[in-house]
Amino acid sequence: MSLLEINTLSKTFAAPGGPVHALSNVSLDVQTGECLAVVGESGSGKTTLANMLLGILAPSSGSILFEGAQLPVKRTATHRRAIQLVQQNPLSSLNPKRSVGASIRLGLDTYGIGDKAARWSAVEAALEEVGLPSDMRKRAPGGLSGGQRQRVGIARALVCDPRLIVLDEPTSALDVLVQARVLRLLNDLRQSKGLTYIFITHDLAVVRNVADRVAVFKSGKLIELGPTQAIFDSPKDPYTRALIGAVPVVDGSELKLRDTLAQGAGGA
């Protein structure tokens, strides 16, 4: 059984110039323990999909099944705990007036999990899981580096013991050395805790190295879906080729792959 099944999901927004179809008839499934990358450019519908998975937006049509049961429009605490989010900008996603520990604990407070002592020990355990010292809970987010803040964001998701984490561009605001460490942490956590990820990004090089499968979105439509290697070795859609072909690369073997794809795009 799939952890997540999305069936003919659509979202339309009313706008002065006529309805905007942010997502049109998207169907896909996500297996337990899998990392599915959702890629595409601005306006492709990636964030609309994430918002519907998290219950922030209600679908216009279609359904989302989580562990075999349909997710209601108004989510219960159980559902909200099970599907967590890690956001793009680790500074603006943390309340500057709350300590790191209070931010992480908020989910436990909201869902009424454990007593006060149990909540603090869960916060400290989550901090240690992401490689931060447990006494960091007393600090303010403003005093942390970008990498530390993103680790706090991950700890905040982990503390609720989720089954699925939606990672919305989790490393795009980070420097390259910090990005590499956070990606490795996310990979290790997925394996050790059996987590499932929906990894939203526009960085194809990151996708190549972290995802099991890739879903390519364009203008609200799912245009290509497949195992990561197949997508990179022989992308079917010209848009997927263009996306891979536009990635700035740093070594010769990458350049060769990119040029091969560009030639393929030219012939497509």
Partner: protein, 289 residues
């Protein structure tokens, strides 16, 4: 070859309640006429403040303590008055910012902002002439309907379109030096690639020198002739792009390069922890003559 920009032993600190915070520790770099040079490094390494000193903006900041020599086209800008430095901006040197939509003024049309830039070079330029010239320059950056764009506000245009407007504006007065601070970082990957190609072609046509500031090694590799790698306010490695990417000599440069995920799928890189090696003396690659 003549040097458009020559920075010698540039030091910068900010005076605060806790004393002086040193940011740049004696940076030296130069850019030859028509050369595309990149300053690459992580957040807080001192890339953007260097650009702000070149533009003469940080000199106006009361808490900034600047030492060293910055020569632009043979003139020492540290001895110039504020108004002399201001006169260089938008005429002899210009800048492209990371996020074009927020860099453009949201309450003025593109046309109004464009003609203001053109009048920095030719103060009395008539509205008709300025509008016609702006439309021609927008057409040069492949904007399909220039007259509509000139009447639009930045928020009515896409990020890619705004970045083209910024490029057209920055190059409109044929500056000798273009500072490009993370151009394209806020754009989608296909738009970023188009933008960089466009910018490269235009600066080649105009003979403009460029200082590209970026943390994206892939972008730097595709755009720059020569690179300076900066770490914590110090240049740790410099040389021709091909040479640095082919044989990085400094531990920090090697760490940066190893941390970049590859589209060929070599797996997640093992990243070395920050070490004292990152502060090792500068490595210089000889230019290939």
């Amino acid at each position: 070859m003549s040097r458009i920009l020559d920075i010698v032993d540039l030091k910068l600190g900010f005076k605060g309640y806790a004393g002086l915070t040193e940011v740049l520790h004696g940076m030296s770099l130069h850019i030859n006429a028509g050369e595309r040079v990149a300053l690459v490094g992580e957040s807080g390494s001192g890339k953007s403040v260097t650009a702000r000193i070149i533009l003469g903006l940080l000199q106006e900041t009361r808490t900034a303590r600047i030492a060293g020599k910055v020569s632009f086209d043979g003139h020492d800008i540290s001895t110039m008055s504020g108004s002399q430095r201001a006169a260089l901006r938008g005429t002899e040197m210009s800048m492209i910012f990371q996020d074009p939509t927020s860099a453009l003024n949201p309450v003025f049309t593109i046309g109004r902002q464009f003609t203001e830039v053109l009048r920095r070079r030719v103060p009395g330029m008539s509205n008709e002439t300025a509008t016609a010239k702006a439309a021609q320059l927008l057409a040069d950056v492949s904007i399909p309907d220039p007259s509509r764009v000139l009447q639009s506000y930045a928020f009515q245009l896409s990020g890619g379109m705004n970045q083209r407007v910024m490029i057209a504006m920055a190059l409109s007065n044929r500056p000798k030096l273009l500072l490009a601070d993370e151009p394209g970082t806020a754009l989608d990957v296909t738009v970023q690639a188009q933008t960089l190609t466009l910018m490269r072609d235009l600066v080649t046509d105009h003979g403009t020198s460029v200082l590209l500031i970026s943390h994206n090694l892939g972008v730097v590799r595709e755009f720059a002739d020569r690179i300076y790698v900066v770490y914590r306010g110090r240049i740790v490695e410099s040389g021709p792009t091909k040479s640095i990417f082919g044989k990085p000599g400094h531990a920090y440069t090697r760490a940066l390069l190893s941390a970049v995920p590859r589209i060929t799928g070599a797996g997640l890189p093992e990243v070395p922890e920050i070490s004292d090696d990152f502060l090792a003396p500068m490595v210089t690659h000889e230019a290939v003559s």
